[in-house]
């Protein structure tokens, strides 16, 4: 059973202490071959009908020290292993055994399924679009809203730095599956916040727009 977990280390907006941006890490593709294999593995798992819809949440559940000390595609490895072991598809013992075999020189076999490769390629081309759905929306562009501080006890995509802040709805999109309650769809609002509202009067002049599900918002009095 998944533990209640929502406000993890991944929610980095506005935190201090991470230092300069390493603009030299500017490549257009994968930095190493294994990264491409991991990226492909996630898509191939989806093509194969494996349960990877909890992927972002699985990354968010990485313990803070490991999250900050490991690389982006190591996060993906962690998340894939976590999802598949939780689903009972793999066991930790199998993973450890496979790693030992690879480390001692074993070479992985191949399993080619041309139809799966075709589906994977189709996912990376323009996709059919669903017809626009009628969607009751509680808020409209121009509305002043305030971000709630508390939500249900599960995965959410509401950054801490906007909680409690007042902003203006600029755009209404969706409906989109609600994180943590994916069978439910809600409108998503692009809400604009003044930087001084988020960071105080000494903030650099700017506006920050965040896309927020309806349940994260309440009408500003």
């Amino acid at each position: 059973m998944t533990h209640v977990f929502m406000d993890g280390i991944h929610d980095l907006g506005g935190m201090h202490g991470f230092g300069p941006i390493d603009a030299a890490r500017a490549g257009h593709g994968f930095e190493a071959g294994w990264e491409g294999r991991v990226h492909g593995m996630l898509i191939a798992l989806a093509v194969g009908g494996q349960p990877v819809s909890g992927f972002r949440h699985a990354i968010e559940r990485i313990p803070p020290t490991e999250y900050l000390a490991s690389s982006y595609y190591e996060h993906w490895l962690h998340a894939i292993e976590l999802l598949l072991t939780e689903a009972g598809t793999l066991t930790r013992e199998e993973i450890v055994t496979a790693q030992a075999r690879i480390a001692s020189g074993a070479v992985a076999g191949r399993r080619d399924v041309p139809q799966a490769a075709q589906i994977a390629r189709a996912l990376l081309s323009p996709l059919p679009r669903s017809a626009p759905q009628a969607m009751p929306a509680h808020f409209a562009a121009g509305d002043q809203v305030r971000v709630r501080r508390h939500f249900g006890p599960d995965h959410n995509r509401c950054p801490r730095y906007v909680r409690g802040a007042m902003g203006v709805v600029e755009h209404v999109a969706g409906p989109s599956p609600v994180p943590g309650a994916e069978l439910t769809r809600e409108p998503v609002y692009t809400v604009a916040f003044a930087s001084h509202e988020l960071w105080g009067s000494f903030a650099e002049p700017a506006t920050v727009r965040v896309d927020l599900w309806e349940r994260y918002l309440e009408q500003e009095a």
Binding site: D11, L12, G13, G14, M15, I21, D22, A23, A26, G27, H28, G29, F30, A32, W34, E35, G36, G40, M41, L45, G48, Q50, R56, I59, E60, Y72, Y73, L77, E81, T89, L90, E94, I95, Q99, I102, A103, A106, A108, R110, R111, A116, A117, I119, A120, L124, P126, R129, R157, P159, H171, A173, G174, V188, L198, E204, P205, T207, V208, D211, L212
Partner: protein, 198 residues
């Protein structure tokens, strides 16, 4: 032993190869599906796609209008689209407004238009700082925004993926579509740089 000395695998390579071997053994993934994804992102899918869209918007006012109204459909006109590009919004830079995009919570990025995001985009320094001190971050990355220009930071926290349409540089009136596209950098479509001058 043969004369060829194999480089030792890194821990990450071991972990990735082991996982792939396990998934193949259990029939959960197709090896060629993985190959296809790697090849697509190495060859076809990259910033050149977004650059084509921007260059067309610079020269074709109707396309520009369609791009700003529905970037997903405008991309599909050029055969561009797919995962993480199902709902794209184009953000037009003007002399009064400069847009910059981030995903503070993870690394959301318009893959079909820009390919794989750079490491700096996915890392804590950018994700934490650009929503709080965007002008400083842009300056560190070589872009000085005048005080009178509004800076808009877009945090891709839901399903929308953002593509910045940079300003067309001066002196480009006589350039072809391909020449214009060559000026549109990946960084200008994230918003941390400008299009190149000819």
């Amino acid at each position: 032993m043969g004369s060829e000395h194999q480089r030792e695998l890194t821990p990450q390579e071991i972990r990735a190869q082991a996982l792939e071997a396990l998934l193949v053994d259990k029939g959960l993934v197709a090896s060629d599906a993985i190959d296809t994804v790697v090849e697509a992102f190495s060859n076809d899918i990259g910033p050149r796609n977004g650059a084509r869209m921007v260059a067309k918007a610079w020269t074709d006012a109707d396309y520009r209008r369609r791009l700003l109204a529905d970037a997903t459909a405008a991309a599909a006109e050029l055969g561009i689209g797919g995962l993480e590009g199902e709902h794209v919004v184009a953000l037009e830079n003007t002399s009064d407004i400069h847009n910059v995009v981030v995903c503070t919570l993870c690394s959301c990025y318009p893959w079909p238009m820009l390919g794989i995001p750079p490491v700096w985009y996915k890392s804590p320094p950018y994700r934490s700082r650009v929503v709080r001190e965007p002008r400083t971050v842009l300056r560190e990355m070589g872009l000085q925004i005048p005080d009178h220009t509004e800076v808009r930071v877009w945090d891709s926290s839901a399903q929308i993926r953002y593509l910045v349409v940079p300003l067309r540089p001066a002196g480009t009136e006589s350039l072809t579509g391909d020449e214009l596209a060559a000026l549109v950098t990946r960084d200008s479509m994230i918003g941390v740089g400008l299009a190149l001058s000819p």
